[in-house]
Symmetry: C2
């Protein structure tokens, strides 16, 4: 793997995906987000909705986790393990192919040994994200705070399960930004300025 990659991990509603798309335009490199879901659906045979849900979130409860494991017990791989393995391979192939941006899906962990991978975490306050998901996604079904907490919890559990690391721990990212305070455009331009410079240490 010899291309410069940016991975963006993000809290739900923080604008990580939008930042990825803006960055892709600024840097003229592809950004994989929904495109990853499509590839994963094609290669796994599962429907895109199923992949979007199970390629990044742990199931709601242990009861569901068991049901979800297709009735297997013990150490047999679950559907989610199967998706994880295909997802891992797709991400490694993308990183091999060209410079790109990858949003979510533990790409920071999967590419951790990649010398030129810039790992980014985007987060924002609950109030900012709640306001934003209602405006951007028009989400109304349940209280936005409840939905955000649930999404964060399950993404965090998924990340911990497959990486053994803590989601959102500063130490795992080269750059962690509060999009609510800095603004989405400034986040994109900060990341671009780092990417366009040298990623490796220049001086100490």
């Amino acid at each position: 793997m010899k291309h410069k990659i940016i991975t963006i991990s993000r809290q739900f509603g923080s604008g990580g995906r939008t930042i990825g798309k803006k960055l892709a335009e600024q840097l003229s490199i592809p950004c994989y987000d929904a495109e990853l879901v499509e590839k994963l659906a094609q290669q796994s045979g599962f429907q895109a909705e199923y992949v979007a849900e199970h390629g990044e979130y742990r199931p709601h409860s242990s009861w569901l986790a068991n049901a979800f494991s297709s009735g297997t017990t013990g150490n047999f791989p679950t559907n989610q393990d199967y998706l994880w393995e295909i997802q891992r391979r797709i991400i490694l192939e993308l990183a091999e192919k060209s410079a790109c941006i990858i949003v979510g899906r533990c790409a920071d962990y999967i590419l951790r040994d990649h010398a030129d991978c810039l790992t980014v975490f985007i987060h924002a306050s609950m109030a900012y994200r709640a306001d934003r998901i209602v405006r951007v996604y028009g989400e109304r079904e349940e209280a936005p705070e409840k939905r955000l907490k649930n999404k964060d919890k399950r993404r965090s559990a998924y990340y911990r399960y497959y990486t053994d690391m803590e989601w959102g721990d500063c130490l795992n990212y080269h750059l962690a930004l509060d999009s609510g305070v800095l603004g989405i455009d400034r986040c994109a331009s900060l990341i671009a300025s780092v990417y366009e410079g040298e990623v490796s240490p220049k001086e100490r």
Copy 2:
């Protein structure tokens, strides 16, 4: 409090203090680090060495914590609580007086309700920091990794004790940067570019 402040929390050896000094030059505002220790020594009556040690680190063990509490038991304030209170007041006064940079000492927490406070966390890998403290400070007494782990652990415990928050959790900082990967100069210029723009949210 109406001035723009930057607080820099940092892992030991990550160059947070150097970044603070560089930023101070670039932005032409004061940076308080050792200066804070001096002020604290003057106002508390303790020696500067004592203040440097106990104004940011929890004692080594619970036995020491008790000894350190001057023999008091129950809920009586310890020397460290007394230092914390003076430190808190000094930081609030500095933020009231003029725009500035404050390194360490839970300033991010103390100024959390300050509208124009940009909170930064600087970290780096153990290998980078171990190499750096030997080069910069010429530290040789014990294995640098051991010293770093001890310092991190005690700073983190101090932070948790007085703030009830997790030191190094991305969510507590607007900007968290890996100085080992980005380089100290780039960290300073990234922070300066955010500071010189608007800190408050511009668009969502």
